[in-house]
Subunit: 239 residues, 2 copies
DNA sequence: CAGTGGTCTAGACCACCAG
DNA sequence: TGGTGGTCTAGACCACTGG
């Protein structure tokens, strides 16, 4: 067992047995180093591991604190009608910020995902969505240009699915891929994540009734203050 | 911009511009240190960050390699009929290993999740599931004892949902919570994960037609060789 | 101002792997 | 055996927070 393992175990035990209380400051790195007779770098490794596992967080110049993971708001993912609708019922204020919107030709990867050839133009859309003034999700959408009515861009920006409905594009199938990933610097900055902690990533492919792919979206969810649920109401034998 | 940022950028550029090929060995930590005029620990930090973001992997005594994330097998999560069914159609061999099975009284947290009082007995079930001899998911299930027919434990172990069906427990609703997390040592060892990389975590609550909660399950999915998809076939306005 | 965490150094010893 | 990554050390300087 390594030295940093012992320090991790010590801190974890203190959290689980309420020696440290939620949101309380723990010993400084120097104090831990002295207490365990190790170097400061070894303490830092132990602390960093627990930060990444959501037990602790650090504030530069102040100290290391026990994280409180209770009382997270719930966001429901299963309403394709859009972010705004999801949040209204929770009495949360939702704001969508369009960071980037441009026409492009698709990369190899994207033309494959959208099942179109590389000469067909697409639209690249990058949005940052806030709930109660906090950044919650970065959504990066690739959509064939032919599906975008430029006279109704604002509606499209706010909710792709309301827009799709009103333009009479019928989506017959959604393919979702779920992942846990560590975000790159861009996503970290947008979501205002200071530490090196995982986010929940969802890749969405929407398929129309005629088999064409309406959109491909990558979404990065900030797990700091929200949790992400889906409710499936079905007879079990229809799954 | 920190020194380790520059080394990260250098490595990332080499990957993206195919200077490093997939599965190829990159410079050793000592070589990078010399090339950038920094200490070895600084190189290690840059490499560790890219390992955590799935660009690299390390083998002790050998070196650091570029990871290939193509060609992952697909596992479908939306068939509650069970792991075995999901994998058959992909021509993958599925094995379930029961690591632990015991009666318990629920903790505060679990009695809340199952909506039962703390005097009601539950069953704790910990399973490790393999596909093609590789560990893919750890499932930890909490289920009220009253729902477990001890004469049919083997069927129950293999597929809770086939079992539920055959015992006439009708599930009306599934509540799923999605997360990205860094696994603790136990999960890492079971899934044979060497590096400090995120897994995909799914928490499942199954609700019966009479409102009782049939089970609460935490599942940790190894993203190394598989990806996890769900297909929703619906009219968009029924979401 | 003293204390905190963030970065970085130039070493050290170890276990592991290959030839 | 020489090279690799894994752990650890005993320093250093910095930027930031609070009193």
């Amino acid at each position: 067992m390594m030295k940093f393992d012992k320090i991790e175990e010590y801190i974890l035990n203190n959290i689980k047995s309420d020696v440290y209380l939620s949101e309380e400051k723990i010993e400084s790195e120097n104090e831990l180093a002295k207490k365990f007779g190790v170097s400061r770098m070894t303490c830092r490794k132990a602390i960093e591991n627990l930060v990444q596992r959501n037990y602790l967080y650090k504030i530069k110049g102040k100290g290391t604190y026990v994280k409180n993971n209770e009382n997270k708001h719930i966001i429901y993912l299963n309403e394709a009608i859009g972010f705004s609708e999801r949040t209204k019922r929770e009495n949360l204020s939702a704001v969508t910020n369009v960071l980037q919107y441009e026409e492009r030709f698709p990369s190899d990867q994207i033309s494959k995902k959208l099942n179109i050839n590389k000469e067909e133009r697409i639209v690249y859309l990058k949005r940052l969505r806030f709930i109660n003034e906090e950044p919650v999700v970065v959504e990066i959408t690739y959509i064939p240009k032919k599906f975008v009515n430029e006279k109704r861009l604002n509606e499209f920006f706010e909710s792709k699915y309301n827009y799709a409905l009103s333009e009479n594009y019928k989506i017959k199938e959604m393919q979702k891929e779920y992942m846990g990933v560590l975000p790159n610097r861009d996503i970290k900055e947008l979501l205002n994540i200071k530490e090196n902690i995982p986010v929940f990533k969802l890749e969405n492919t929407a398929i129309l009734e005629n088999g064409e792919i309406f959109e491909y979206t990558k979404a990065f969810y900030n797990q700091e203050k929200y949790k992400f649920l889906e409710i499936l109401k079905k007879d079990i034998d229809k799954y």
